[in-house]
């Protein structure tokens, strides 16, 4: 049960332990954090199974790992390793130009990214058990996460005032079954948990996402690219647990050292959020 928790990107057993000590509900095992993928370029793939095994052995909280979009064999390998969740992630270089993984074929649950409601519903139709709004990974800039959370919220609200004919046409536009659209309309939210991701660098960023209505937060580069990872990780966990308490947020935001270096979205060469179909 991950709700109300923080999931942290880690690249080693040592980092995984720091995340667990801070109170993370899960860790995401990967070879390079998004900020480094962005800086170094090249093809980003599933992490070395050896590394994933090391991380799984180091902590007792759930371990997630990323597979490339459409790379169902990487997902099969991750499932065989026994990871708790597979993240079919745009942070890695996509492997299929038009299709995502058919997630119903797996027993391991999947988390997938979305920038809007249509993208989320396609992923849920394919069998995703958890969603995350994408944001723009590796930038330390929260604007895209906020954009995607608000877009999804607004699009769900819009469904409420639609008649059956309009809902059918939305389903066509979203390329999903109308039953799923009707279900979302009735629930007023996704039928699965939805976390925020991409660009979270401070406790305030994390609490902002929570106040906008997500179920929890992924922090990628924000922790281990800051000057004091252990302290910042704990502060972000505390901020998510007490996200409405401004006095508390003020207290945990003190003395965290330098946050990760941030990037302006308009200056980026690659926008990872655009990967996914």
């Amino acid at each position: 049960m991950l709700k109300g928790g923080v999931i942290m990107d880690v690249t080693s057993a040592t980092q995984a332990k720091i995340a667990e000590t801070a109170g993370a509900v899960a860790v995401m095992a990967l070879e390079r954090v998004p900020a480094d993928i962005r800086k170094q370029g090249g093809v980003a793939r599933m992490a070395d199974p050896e590394k994933i095994k090391e991380i799984m052995a180091a902590v007792s909280i759930p371990v997630m790992a990323k597979a490339r979009i459409g790379h169902f064999v990487e997902a099969q390998i991750l499932e065989a390793l026994g990871v708790d969740y597979v993240d079919e992630s745009e942070v890695l270089t996509p492997a299929d130009p038009s299709l995502h993984i058919d997630k119903w074929k797996f027993k391991v649950p999947f988390v997938c990214g979305c920038t809007n409601l249509g993208e989320a519903l396609r992923r849920i139709s394919e069998g995703a058990a958890m969603m995350r709004t994408k944001g723009e990974a590796g930038t330390g800039n929260i604007i895209e996460a906020v954009r995607h959370i608000r877009t999804v919220n607004n699009e769900i609200t819009a469904l409420k005032s639609m008649n059956p004919k309009q809902l059918l046409s939305k389903a066509k536009e979203y390329r999903v079954n109308v039953n799923l659209v009707n279900e979302i309309r009735k629930l007023g939210r996704f039928p699965v948990v939805n976390f925020a991701a991409g660009g979270v660098a401070t406790p305030a960023d994390a609490a902002l996402c929570m106040q906008l209505g997500v179920d929890g937060v992924f922090v990628g580069s924000g922790i281990f690219k800051s000057s004091d990872p252990a302290k910042r990780a704990k502060a972000i966990v505390d901020a998510v647990a007490h996200f409405r308490d401004a006095a508390f947020l003020a207290k945990v935001s003190v003395g965290l050292g330098e946050a990760m270096e941030g990037l302006e979205i308009s200056k980026l060469d690659t926008r990872l959020q655009e990967r996914g179909w």
Binding site: M1, E20, A26, P62, D84, V237, D238, A241
Partner: protein, 187 residues
Amino acid sequence: MIGVLALQGGVIEHVRMLERCGKKAIEVRAKDDLKKVNALILPGGESTTLFKLMKRQGLDTEIKKRAKKGMPVFGTCAGMIVLAKEIIDNREQGLGLIDISVKRNDYGRQVDSFEEEIDVRDIGKVNAVFIRAPIVKSCGKDVEVLARQNKNPILLKQNNILVASFHPELTDDKRVHELFLKMNSII
């Protein structure tokens, strides 16, 4: 008023279930919130995270104190681990409010999560959802076993404490919550 510990985990599901039972529920995040409630639910979540967040608020000692004075407490999944006397192979120390020894994630990792119909004493058939569930390895003589799955106790009671290794808040069935409410005459 019934509180649901709201530091992490399936909080809203318990709040809704209590509302369906006709009870008002509040979220408990700090010691001041705990003063307002006369019963408490510890939800499922990550037990490691729950322990850390409770300690940071001093809620662990406060909950222990209140429960020892008779406050009814119901722990589900990770909430059960938190209440246990012994947690096998773990660095965290349970609150020791129920005389059971538990092993975390003993049904396996996330892929081994499952749903199964179980038989609950005085209630009958209940659909139980297990997610990375803990297993009760042994329990003291003062603990009553109300349900089992594959011989393992999964719903247990000791005086004012009720624990479930599954997630009764994730189904439409409110009978396990009603059992908690009745058990302590909160209804």
